[in-house]
Symmetry: D2
Subunit: 348 residues, 4 copies
């Protein structure tokens, strides 16, 4: 059985493990105030081209989203997101558990646009009973999205502009950011994210680390007292240096993008094979998540040999599923799956 | 500089690291539903002598406390704890952030007694305006406590009995449980904890793991839907098997107690040296935390060579501080410190 | 200027005021534990035909919704509601502020159906990552709805059945319940509500009282400790007897339904006049809220003489607005408005 | 049976009732945006001598405390209060239910002092792990306190100064403010409260109104979006004008202080009688709450004829109880009680 259902089926990239092993018996202070965290934060600031950024390391994605959002909002304020956004669908109401409504908007392949945000803000401002509705104060987007798609540079700049116009924070969830930055059709880079967003995070868990997300804050308002919030929401790792060490490994010599490119290349190869075999995609993307639409009968057959995850029903006899590649995916496994797809095409 | 300020200055015990390395490229499903977690849970159930226990793995202590308490209480209910309890003092109000009041009681060297709990419950029941006050519904204790002290078997059984009498849950925070179970004056064991408590946790972060706490639930009411709560509170690790693997290493052949004994032995040795040098203890204990009371001048001198943490001011010229040993403490470092203490005694 | 924008433009029905005046200098204990509250609760239990019901009096609707929902749900549970439901739209995220997600469903004229609830529950149960999504545990409906429409008896019974099948609580918001029960096309009565719902409330604020909502709980699980929750959420009125006195006035000799009928009759008359004048309705209903669709130019003209509230844009030149009647509406004012509508028709 | 257990045993002062009756059939807009609320706010601003103050009307005390505190604090921040403070003892954890810890300090007859606040702030700032503890951000005091005592002008100014020094908000709970301002030993007035506090409230529920508290905000930071918070926390009364009308009655010609003086005069008379009869006071005060310490046997006897509330056990045979006067207390009832006390003295 070969698992493709997600990008966290394995542990960490060997160079990350090596570094953890090397530093294992070093003595450092706790809670992320050690030299490794300081150095990793410096590497990220440098990669973003802005040495005023605050950088904090948390353990996982839901925790990071919940902490950032709770830190930013007053009780009557909500966060705008795509209906398909991770915070709206797959975090067991973590954001609501901190008291805030997710203001869900219809999505286009996982994305939302500046015009939608503007319309929602205008509707709030013009509502005579505006104080009876949640005040929009933040926009949450994910890049790559839950459909593997990417925001173009113009799309991001427009979202940023509309957020500034209406006094909203822009927060980008980069749980799979590496696979976005390394994609063939990517238009973004870290300096542009730091400039457009008030806060974003660089995902480690799905991109080579055992675990860990690096939160990058550019807006001074959001920097204030952020460590209190990390502690309160349960995200302050006692041995915080584990996060620093891992992000050092990922950022000191380009490992983060190198392994992301590997995953994206294999995804492109696999995607092409699905297409050749006659299976359309639920959404177009060049990142590490692939969403082929297949007949249920063939999916059942595939499920005997491969792990993949169910996405959604398309019609009575077809479903969309998700295959992920990652830094850990072996080309031989992709080739084996491609051979099976070729055979299936013949069968069809 | 040798660090003694806490028991999380290093990474993980080499045997834990080895196991993480060995399993690193295995493919498993995420979120703790893998074979390693299942096996580790089985080992813990076996060590507790009760195969009906629910066992869950979380990342850190504050997160665990917050999740267990939020899972157990309705909005109007509070949790009784010693004023010195970790949830009351050192978690940035994490429990309150989930909506619950900590009902703090005076402590005796970090402990609270059954009579105190009974008195609080009786006062609540007899209060004519009881509905205007928080309803006590859980008792939180830590063992070892924040002062390194231990509950005796009778003390724990009495607390358990009073909790059952008044319909309260008993929750034991075992962040340093190994150092308690291995202490010379310990009277408890895992089966007794499982029998007395409704829920408790076995700390890994401070006892040999990179991170990780194993929550053990015996009360069926508290088992229901617990994984939803883990996810919502940000504690569901994507690569959950990392927790399983580490607890396998700690529990498959007695490593957990073995390394705890090491730490306790060195603590006993160091404690004796403090005493010999004329420095009294803030609280009596045989676990890995030592709280000597020393003149500020000598502390300043020690601080040049050793890391330790400040506990509290005792009088105008003396303070209590904390030295911790751990699974990672080297005997040579203890000896070096003892030599310095001997010299100081001569100086006094 | 004659105000029709809501059903709380005036104070209380004169018989309610009279009773408040009569009892004003009586001495009673506070917080709803007085004889008036007891008697009013008894009258409501009798009207519901079930003397096991718990009855509590709160001040306002948002407060009541928030308190009932927070009392019923565990942290990972959410409440299903129509997208147009008051809790989803017009309470500034009060439900989310207590930690719970509103699971919004598309509506049919303000209503949701049993099949929708069933589909949502099934999707949750069949989701492989169900623990990563909010668990549905309650269904919230309003009757009359925010569009003035009513649930039929069969619709309510089906909702009740599906809730029981999936272990959900059914909660009916009766802020305008009187206007529903008195409507020409109503099929429900209080005994049927008490039998179908786990909890519902009988609105006083909009139906003759100065303020006040009577919560009726039939499910024993929801009865437990409810007064603690009222206190914690700020709804326990010091002079609780004010609520008891008002509900005595409304329920001791049929005043509640009598004044509701008055409002519904005038609404029917006005609705017919809108239709005669050629203005269609946004939604069909026979209760006290009327939602005519009119040309913006005519609305502007009407706005000079009458207060009404804006509902939604229908097309570029037409909007839907809301006119309400109430226990306090004077027939002469309705007649004056009808005369204006007739003139407008001629103008069109 | 004559009730003295609280100051909300009756309805409203007749002049308040009259005004409610007079305005009952007026048509106004809802939610406090009517002319009565505007006029009442103006009267209060004038009485405070500051026309920049924001004034909002809420229904009850717990609701007001919860709303003000939730509006002011970020998630990691707590509110300092006396251990006896209403928010710490008698609101079923309402403040914690909004996510915030109450940082309780020892009290002196219900009061806390500037030096205590300073010490707590300094301890927080100097704690090496300050981010692991709740950040103090607000000081809550009540005046009169829960023991009927009053802050002197110098005490209040010192608290205000220490709050400004450490960036804390000062919030004064004036549930019984009238009885404080009218007391023989009072040193404060409304302008001084508006100058010293960032926010305070003028209690109506216990001082002549059916219900209602007027929140007065002087700090601009706290003014922002306050109405959203009122709505979210369930305190926005649909017929908001009821609050405006009542505060108009209380403030348009001095009724508020006039009726407070009445209560204080009768309390002084009763207090003197207790003393004459040989019963000491638990705390010294000149406001409307009296806390005599009496033998349990005599209390039992008194309980047959008078309502009073239990305060606390003093020794094995004595308890402190509370008698309240109010705007509604009749002198003949005080005289009757005094006669009984005289008789009891003879009996002792």
């Amino acid at each position: 059985m070969i698992l493709f259902q997600c990008d966290y089926n394995e542990g960490a990239h060997p160079r990350v493990m090596e570094k953890l092993l090397e530093t294992n018996l070093e003595q450092t202070v706790g809670y992320g105030e050690d030299g490794h965290c300081a150095r990793a934060a410096g590497l990220i600031r440098k990669a973003c081209g802005d040495d005023t950024l605050a950088v904090h390391f948390l353990v996982g994605g839901t925790q990071t989203n919940m902490t950032v959002i709770a830190a930013a909002l007053r009780p009557h304020q909500g966060v705008i997101a795509a209906q398909t956004g991770h915070i709206n669908c797959h975090e067991t109401g973590a954001v609501e558990s901190t008291g805030h409504k997710v203001l869900a908007l219809p999505h286009q392949d996982g994305k939302i646009g500046a015009a939608q945000v503007e319309a929602l803000c205008e509707a709030h401002l013009q509502d005579a009973s505006f104080e009876h509705t949640v005040q929009p104060k933040m926009v949450y987007i994910s890049n790559p999205t839950e459909y593997g798609t990417l925001y173009g540079r113009k799309e991001l700049e427009e979202l940023s502009a509309v957020c500034r116009k209406y006094g909203l924070y822009l927060f980008l969830d980069g749980a799979r950011l590496g696979y976005g930055l390394a994609a063939a059709d990517n238009e973004l880079d870290l300096p542009c994210l730091a400039a457009c967003c008030d806060v974003f995070y660089i995902g480690g868990t799905k991109v080579g680390a055992l675990f860990g997300e690096a939160v990058v804050i550019s807006n001074d308002e959001l920097k204030k007292d952020f460590r209190y919030l990390i502690k309160q929401k349960g995200g302050m790792l006692a041995k915080g240096r584990l996060l620093g060490v891992q992000f050092e490994a990922l950022f000191e010599d380009g490992l983060y993008l190198e392994i992301s490119r590997h995953a994206d290349r294999l995804a492109d190869k696999l995607r092409e094979a699905f297409r050749q075999a006659g299976f359309p995609m639920l959404a177009e993307s060049r990142t590490n998540q692939i969403f082929p639409v297949m007949p249920d009968a063939l999916l059942k057959e595939l499920a005997g040999r491969y792990g993949f995850s169910y996405q959604e029903r398309v019609d009575e006899t077809h479903s969309a599923v998700r295959f992920c590649t990652s830094w850990a995916t072996k080309e031989e496994n992709i080739d084996r799956l491609i051979a099976d797809l070729k055979r299936m095409r013949q069968a069809v």
